[in-house]
Structures are given as structure tokens and as C-alpha cells.
Symmetry: C2
Subunit: 214 residues, 2 copies
DNA sequence: TACAAAAAATGACTGCGGTCGATTTTATTC
DNA sequence: GAATAAAATCGACCGCAGTCATTTTTTGTA
């Protein structure tokens, strides 16, 4: 029966991820070598590379699992009728705190996620997509409540908030923001700005039209 | 006289950067080793590291020079009275085309710029600041023309547009955008959205207030 | 159970980024 | 110009990510 082999492979994969969880968590990502990882998982170094293409892919797989859990938690938050702004700030701050628990951890993750190589691009898109799906129902409700324009393409709305979130994280990595509270403040401010618009309020007839593209 | 020594150092530095320009340009960043760089510059490998702390720092120094030139060119564009939206799209598209001339090139640059390590954070901030300064006068004019809210903190206005630019580049690296024209379209669309706001148009009294923070 | 074919595991090896103590070059002082 | 201090250069060396030819294990078949 070939099911035995499959099972063993799944266990090995799990062992690698568990070793990664422990070692990345304690020694940090940069200071953990693939050989240490292999030893901790009780396998040879070469074997690692028949399960993952690069060291950073192990890392992304780890994040994927945890983010999955995190996003399920968040979707509960997303279900109540709190004003959009507060919910958004809440979700992105949770994400921020998780991603930057460990500075190196977050840097590797974000670099791969935002500017992926050919190797990691598919995995990155998956993570992105899962995140996007979390927001769509949230936005739909906000539209019904009149907190968000009805003619908005929701994917672009997500992109808009997400981009401001990225900027905020970037500011944190650049040392322009130091405390959790600073991050929170900037994020809320930018989100408010995004909602109300950067241009002066015009009469509806003068309002810039919103494009619709695929 | 100690001026001779200084002069020699400047020449060595220049030789390294010229070698980098040639080799990164032809073989690509990843495929050029520091040893090759040293040989091409006619010096030992170790010497490189008394001029630059890491390989990526050489790269950033290179970009800094070129960006300096590019930004001076742009500031000419920024001086006429074209509508803000068009000027912004124009400038960011120029930047985009420059940065992504070479895919690896751009990835390394953006990763270091947006999510820098402790080693490169100062250099990254400098590049950022130079870019910011390009926009401030542009925004001031737009405010006078009534294209931008008068109560806007200009640094945050810059951040807003810059973040949308980053998102667009990220989408390109993720393979969600392929052609130059797609990038242009998304960028323009997001900028319009930012100007007009994501929330429905309310009467001025209902408008969300804009915060003022340092 | 015996045997062959396919799959999986392995660790020696390669190439690279970055370090460091030894060596050479330059500046200074008498 | 000799002696000494300081700065700059160097390449052998280290640790690590990733490869690959070889070995070991598993599976299917008779």
C-alpha cells in the first residue's frame, strides 16, 4: 500500500516544521542553519531540500499555518457591526503585532511576501489571497451601512488599506516609529485620510469619477 | 600632506562602484560575487569591506547616485503647473521604470529600502528623505491650486501616495500586473481613489476630521 | 520470498558573503 | 633618512545555503 509512504512523508514534513518552530523561535531565523534544522528533525540536510526549495520557504510554510489560525480568529472580530475604521485598525494591528513579534522573523516574511522571487511567488500570492478574503465580507457590510462607497471595487479598497498598512510597517522597520502606540496612531490616521480623501470636498458634480477596471 | 590619501580612497571607492555598475548591469546582482567585483576593481576582496559593510550596501550606494540624477530630472517636471494627479503618475512611473529595469536589481533595492536591516537603515532613510523632498513643493502648489486639502500634513500626504506606489510595485513582483500599461492604470486608479476618498461624500459637517500629529 | 524498479534519504562538496590577523603602504617625528 | 605610528590592503579562512552522485528504503511483481 502506498498510503504508508505518504504518511511518513507527512510526518517528516511536520518534524521539519516543528524543528523550525522551535529553533527559529529561540535562536532566530538568521542564526539557525539548515543543518541544525535537519539534526533537530532527525534527518539529513539534503532531505530538507526535497520538502522545501529554500530556507525561507520553510519559514513561509510556518507562517502560513499560523496566519491561517490568526485569520480565523480575526474573522470572528470581522463579524460584528463595529464601525469599519475600528475593525480595520484592530485587524491590521493584530497582524502587525504577530508579524513583528520577532524583528528578523517579520523582515524575512514581509520581504518574501511583498517582493517575492520567482521561487516563492505562488506561496506569497496564496497568503495574500487568504488575507483578502478576510476583508471582502467586511467591506460588503460597510457598504450596506453606508461607510464605504457603493461603487467601489472591493479588491482595490482592500489594496488601498493594505498599502497603508505596509507603509506603516515600513516606517517601523526604518525606525521612524518605535512604540506600538505610534504604529496604532499612524495607521488610524492614514485610514481616516483614505476614507475622507486627500482632495478638498467638492460638490458631487465636480467629484472625480471612480474608474472600473478588471 | 594627508590629501593624497583621501584622494586615493575616493578613487578606490569610485573603482568599486564602476565595477559594480558594469558587473551588476551585465551579469546581474545575484550572479556577481564580491570577489569578482574586487578583481574587476583591481583590489583585494577584503578591501571592499573597508569601503562598504555589505554587498547590498554597494548596490544601494550605486542606486543613490543614479536616483540623485533621476530626482533632479524629475524636479524639473515637478515645476510646471500640470494637475497633481498627472504629475504624480508621471513621477512614480519614471521611478518604477528605473527601479524595475532589471528585476533582481529592483527586488534587492526595494527589499532594503522598505524593510531595511539595522545595517542599511540609515542609508535607506536618506534615500527616502531625498524622495520626499521632491514632493513637498509639488504638494504645496497643489494646495494653493485647491487640488489638495489645505489642512493636510504633507508628510502624510506623501506617505499615502508612496504607499500606493509600493503596493503597485508589489503587485508587479507578484505577477498580478505584467505590462507597463497595467502598472500605469492601477497607479492612476489608486491615486484617484485616494484623492476622492473611499467613504461616500458627506456634507461638510459630517466629514471625518483630519488629525494633526508630529 | 526473491528481485527489480522507483522513491527517498544522505552528507561530502561547491560557491559565496563576510571576518580577521598578518602584511604592506603612508604619514609623522626626530 | 631612519624610526615609529597609523592607516590601508590583503587573501586564507569560516560558516552557511543549496547541489548532486551515491546509498538506502519502499513498492510492485512473480
Amino acid at each position: 500500500m502506498s498510503g504508508v509512504r505518504e504518511e511518513k512523508k507527512r510526518q517528516t514534513r511536520k518534524a521539519i516544521l516543528e524543528a523550525a518552530m522551535t529553533l527559529f523561535g529561540t535562536r532566530g531565523y538568521e542564526k539557525t542553519s539548515v543543518e541544525q534544522l535537519a539534526k533537530a528533525a532527525g534527518i539529513g540536510k539534503g532531505t530538507i531540500y526535497s520538502y522545501f526549495q529554500t530556507k525561507s520557504e520553510i519559514f513561509l510554510a510556518l507562517c502560513e499555518d499560523e496566519l491561517d489560525f490568526l485569520h480565523k480568529e480575526m474573522s470572528k472580530k470581522a463579524n460584528n457591526e463595529t464601525p469599519l475604521l475600528e475593525t480595520l485598525v484592530d485587524i491590521f494591528m493584530t497582524e502587525f503585532r504577530y508579524v513583528t513579534r520577532n524583528r528578523d522573523f517579520g523582515r524575512v516574511f514581509l520581504r518574501e511576501l511583498v517582493f517575492p522571487t520567482e521561487l516563492t511567488v505562488e506561496r506569497s500570492k496564496e497568503i495574500d489571497n487568504r488575507f483578502i478574503e478576510l476583508f471582502i465580507p467586511l467591506f460588503q457590510k460597510a457598504q450596506k451601512r453606508g461607510e464605504l462607497r457603493a461603487d467601489l471595487e472591493l479588491l482595490f479598497a482592500f489594496g488601498h488599506f493594505y498599502s497603508l498598512y505596509l507603509l506603516t510597517i515600513s516606517a517601523w522597520y526604518c525606525g521612524r516609529l518605535l512604540e506600538d502606540a505610534d504604529v496604532l496612531m499612524l495607521l488610524r490616521m492614514l485610514f481616516k485620510q483614505a476614507l475622507s480623501g486627500l482632495a478638498p470636498v467638492l460638490s458631487p458634480s465636480q467629484q472625480l469619477p471612480t474608474n472600473h477596471e478588471s
